[in-house]
Amino acid sequence: MTDKLKEIRLAGLEAFAAAETSDQLELLRQQYLGKKGLLTEILKGLGRLSPEERRQTGQLANEIKNQLAGAIESRKEELLANASLFVQPPDLTIPGTGMARGGLHPVTQMCYDLNDAFRSLNFEIFSEDEITSELYAFDHLNFPPGHPARETMDTYWIEGTESKHGAERLCLRPHLTGGSVRYLQKHGAPARFVYPGRVFRNESTDSRHERAFFQYEALIVDRDFSFSSGLLLVRTILEKVFGREIPVRMRAGFFPFVEPGFEIDMACQVCGGEGCPVCQHSGWVEVMPGGSPHPNVLRAAGLDPDVWSGFFINIGLDRLVMMRYGVDDVRLFHSADLRFLEQFR
């Protein structure tokens, strides 16, 4: 009997080791350890043995039973550890499935990037109405009477008001700066804000010119603010857009609403400042105008220019987006064409 038991043990361990699935193992478990299994059948003959033999054989049988049960469990673990969901390995070169579509307009994305940077510097974000008046678009900004921008050919005047003057002559805002005066009138100084928005010019369109485009204005007004500190605005924007510090320079520039006025250049990112056709071999690319608000503009905003000064910049968001992604046609931004917009998800 002892020999038989030992035979069963050997056969069982071999069979278990050869099992390839947990189903096979379950069958083997029943075959060996079940109620009608081999071990039970053998043990039925225990009664015929002497008490001493019975004790010894019983002990051996138990031992074998535990051993076999353990072997089944460990084989089970082994099989699970090596299990796969696939009979045939799948083709893993097939691309992943897509996420939901949708996205923000690339101009909005750029605008939010810049907003985040300026919010971290405690700037407010400002927005204003698109229809304004000559008073805010030109008079308050120190544009001389008869300035060409006031003429119909450059600005979209509202029908019925086009031959009036000042506050009564309405237009789609040709730039954001007039709105900044409204902010200062309302909130006073010191002021620190950015002002993203869309502006409108009556001109013929091509790949570089649009009738509706986006600007991003930033303005600080504070006591005794120097233009040497104004570069903060420029640096914040360029660093956000390009992800690294970009060399900038300020040079003499004329705009009616600033004094001193600057053209602000950045090191050409195509040649790294070495000189190339893009920068006309100067190593610098003009990116934005800027300057200290003209005393007449501060006065229009109700501020005393002997107390308050500041710095202003205004950058074309469309152009920044075009530079960031290499977009070559500004008209795409208003196309509402998903084939274009979906590229910026």
Partner: protein, 812 residues
């Protein structure tokens, strides 16, 4: 504007070795933007002087000859030529093999190769002026057909082989300056002003200009200004015995090198003066000017034929130059009249040097669309003192080049002189506003070379005398002085100083934050694409969507005739965008945040400013195949906006009139908590769908006011305790009358279940006509313990009973 460095050097001692790059950089940093620097000599690179030795007939062609030309080498060069004015010993312009020319003055320049012309070898060509872009400098005479440039008379000492550029003296640097950067600097519209600026930059000396002396023998000439608010000064000088022949070559070359065409010595002198000091002048043929000059505004209906042949019908605001007989002879400050050209027969001239008010000139020039070199300069506001410079140069040039001319009469009316400006500026102001210390010496060193008078009181105040050429609007306040000082020191020499900032409260802008959260929800959760469309709407989409036009704001000069109105709703633009994209996509969603406009009178800042109504709105458009799922999707997105956008919630109800564009069975208004309608949503009606030409079966649209949304002070949803005992979930299908709504079912079960959720509707087989089957899922919870099977059955039958009594529901 173009400027010649050679010309500038006649007024200024500048470093001799200055490079184009340096000049361009320094001027750009300090003063004006230099867009390009070119050397006119490059036009004739490789082109040399040749002497024609022999001329033979071409064996194969009647119109060609074969020349042996001495080009300074041991052997003569054989060149085939079609020139009609060739003669032996003639000094000509030769383009040897390897040089580039513009064939017959047309097309791109091409490099010459040795070639056979009708079988005869030609080593290069003898050039006509147009082939080297020199036609303005050597204008072909009208009667010669194929005239080559003849240098024999002009440069008898030129040697064969000598570079043409050397002989003509073309070596120069021409600065091309961006006109926009010059708008505030009338003093820089001439070489003398630029010379002054460069002297200030490089530390050179500016030479004085000749002064004007009226000879004692000269008679008085009658000049009167009828409107002294438009013409501040008018000087007329009469010269007799002029001979308007070709100008000396070097004068022609100078004028040509900065982009003007030499005409004759009289016209060239007027242009030269303008280019020298920025003061436009004019010469009238004296035989057309009777009894003096009178400057007056035009009479109603008066007309004038201009020098260029255009006939203008004048406005009463146009300023005219008339003669003593009141006959108009020129449009003041812009262009002379047709009949007063200086012709070769002209012998006596009236020379005009005048000063006109800037805005008037601009208005006339832009109204009649006649912008000239003169009007461009007068528009910038020139000082009256500059007339004296012009008179001086004119007198000197005429005496030098027209010795036969006599100044016989002169007269002037000087109504107003440009006033000098005295400006006190404190050093402290300069220091604070620049962010860097500036001494009185540094300020004086920057300003004195620019012509400012500088006087320092030894403590803090500089008193500055603004020179007349900067005193016509350009420099009038201390901030202008700040700019002058700092740009001359060089902005690149001011180090960045981080601003000192006092931090008050953290910025808190709930509306801005909600706006962004809503857009990000729509883009990244709802899967919609943000778009921007123009504020002007297409008339056809306006009518498809049933937009009324009487309340719309319109543009005086619209971008196109059918984009006259500004949008009063985002719907037309969204539909147009949906139609456009239906060519490439079947299922998609779009949204736009933008302002809409309606007639109105809103005065937020001043009473005089009456702006139209302007409201920020959010518009959504979905395109898909099945109408009701599309409607539900849109409703689902809209319901989630308050949660994600952190604004007060809203509900949906079919209140008011249907939107004109919507399906009569699928539209709702969006109603805020206080009962205000703040938006609408619906499916596009079959009619509007057909009219729009959209290529998808169904479009759902919504629009709601962002301005009327109320941002929450903080998030307002609350934590819910997890259920103590497991919830039991079951489905139930009931059959109800068609008129019974889900809202009624939901209401009926609300007291009996933990929550209930709509699953589906079904109509068709097994459901009687006029009825519908409605399936929903509900969850039950036990208050004291896990629900037993009996308890669940009990609750379910109570629910069924309630449904039967309240809405007549049968089980399915």
């Amino acid at each position: 504007m173009k400027a010649s460095l050679n010309w500038i050097r006649t007024y200024a001692d500048l470093p001799a070795d200055i490079t184009a790059e340096q000049l361009s950089h320094d001027l750009t940093m300090r003063t004006v933007e230099v867009e390009a620097v070119t050397n006119p000599a490059d036009l004739v690179d490789g082109i040399i002087i040749g002497r024609v030795i022999t001329i033979r007939k071409h064996p194969q062609a009647d119109r060609l000859v074969v020349c042996d030309v001495d080009i300074g080498e041991e052997e003569t060069s054989q060149i085939v030529c079609g020139g009609t004015n060739l003669y032996e010993n003639q000094l000509v312009v030769v383009a040897p093999v390897g040089a580039s020319v513009r064939w017959h003055g047309e097309g791109q320049r091409v490099e010459l190769a040795a070639a056979k012309v009708r079988g005869v070898v030609s080593n290069g060509m003898i050039c006509a002026s147009e082939e080297l872009d020199l036609e303005d400098l050597f204008p072909p005479s009208e009667d010669e057909e194929a005239e080559i440039v003849d240098l024999t008379a002009l440069f008898p000492d030129a040697c064969p082989g000598q570079p043409l550029a050397d002989v003509l003296g073309l070596g120069d640097l021409i600065l091309d300056i961006d006109n926009k950067s010059l708008t505030n600097r009338p003093d820089l519209w001439g070489h003398y002003g630029l010379a002054r600026e460069l002297c200030a930059i490089y530390g050179g000396t500016l030479r004085p200009l000749p002064t004007y002396q009226k000879p004692e023998s000269a008679a008085d000439y009658a000049v009167s200004i009828a409107d002294p608010s438009r013409c501040f000064r008018y000087d007329a000088v009469v010269y007799e015995g002029v001979r308007p022949e070709k100008s000396p070559f070097h004068m022609r070359r100078l004028i040509w090198s900065v982009g003007m065409r030499p005409i004759n010595i009289i016209v060239d002198i007027t242009n030269y003066i303008m280019l020298a000091v920025g003061q436009p002048t004019h010469a009238f043929d004296e035989s057309h000017v009777r009894n003096g000059i009178r400057v007056r505004t035009a009479k109603e209906g008066e007309s004038l034929e201009l020098l260029d042949g255009r006939e203008l019908t004048l406005l009463p605001s146009d300023l005219l130059i008339c003669d003593g007989g009141d006959k108009a002879i020129g449009l003041a400050g812009i262009m002379g009249g047709a009949r007063d050209s200086i012709l070769p027969e002209t012998r006596n001239i009236v020379f005009e040097v005048a000063n006109f008010e800037a805005i008037g000139i601009r208005k006339t020039a832009s109204h009649h669309r006649v912008r000239t070199e003169a009007s461009m300069r007068f528009e910038k506001a020139i000082d009256t003192q500059r007339c004296d410079l012009a008179l001086g140069i004119a007198q000197q040039l005429l005496s030098e080049w027209q010795p036969g001319a006599r100044l016989v009469a002169a007269g002037a009316h000087r109504a107003r002189e440009t006033e000098s400006i005295e400006l006190p500026v404190s050093l402290q102001f300069l220091n604070v506003r620049s962010g860097c210390p500036i001494t009185a010496e540094a300020a004086a060193a920057a300003l004195t070379p620019l012509g400012f008078g500088v006087c320092f009181d030894g403590r803090d105040t500089l008193t500055l005398q603004v020179p007349s050429w900067r005193a016509t609007g350009d420099v009038s306040i201390k901030d202008d002085i700040l700019e002058e000082v700092c740009r001359m020191i060089g902005y690149e020499n001011f180090r960045y100083t981080p601003p000192a900032i006092t931090l008050g409260k953290a910025v808190r802008q709930l509306g801005m934050e909600s706006d962004r959260a809503i857009r990000e929800f729509l883009a990244y959760r709802a899967g919609l694409q943000e778009i921007f469309t123009y504020p002007w709407v297409d008339d056809s989409f306006l009518s498809i969507t049933g937009g009324k036009t009487d309340s719309l704001v319109s543009l005086a000069s619209p971008p196109s005739p059918d984009h006259h109105y500004l949008r009063g709703s985002l719907i037309p633009g969204l539909l147009e965008a949906t139609v456009l994209n239906s060519r490439y996509y079947e299922t998609y969603g779009l949204f736009e945040v933008a302002q809409v406009f309606a007639k109105g009178e809103v005065s937020l800042f001043t009473a005089e400013e009456k702006l139209p109504l302007q409201e920020r709105r959010l518009g959504l458009a979905l395109a898909g195949a099945e109408p009701f799922p599309l409607f539900r999707l849109l409703k689902g997105i809209l319901s989630q906006i308050p949660r994600f956008g952190r604004v007060q919630g809203w509900s949906f109800a079919p209140v008011g009139d249907k939107m004109p564009w919507a399906d009569r069975n699928a539209w709702l208004r969006i109603v805020s908590e206080d009962g205000t309608v703040i938006g609408s949503m619906g499916l596009l009606s079959p009619k509007a769908t057909a009219d729009s030409g959209v290529r998808v079966p169904c479009v759902a649209l919504a629009e709601l006011s962002l301005d009327q949304m109320v941002p929450l002070q903080s998030r307002d949803n609350r934590f819910e305790h997890l259920p103590l005992f497991p919830l039991v979930e079951q489905d139930l299908s009931i059959v109800v009358d068609e008129k019974i709504s889900w809202a009624q079912v939901s209401e009926a079960v609300s007291n009996h279940v933990h929550d209930a959720e709509f699953v589906e509707e079904y109509r068709g087989e097994q459901v009687p006509e006029g009825k519908k089957s409605l399936m929903f899922r509900f969850r039950l919870s036990g208050e004291t313990g896990t629900l037993t099977a009996e308890a669940i059955d009990q609750m379910r039958s109570r629910l069924i009973k309630k449904l039967k009594y309240t809405i007549g529901a049968e089980m399915r």
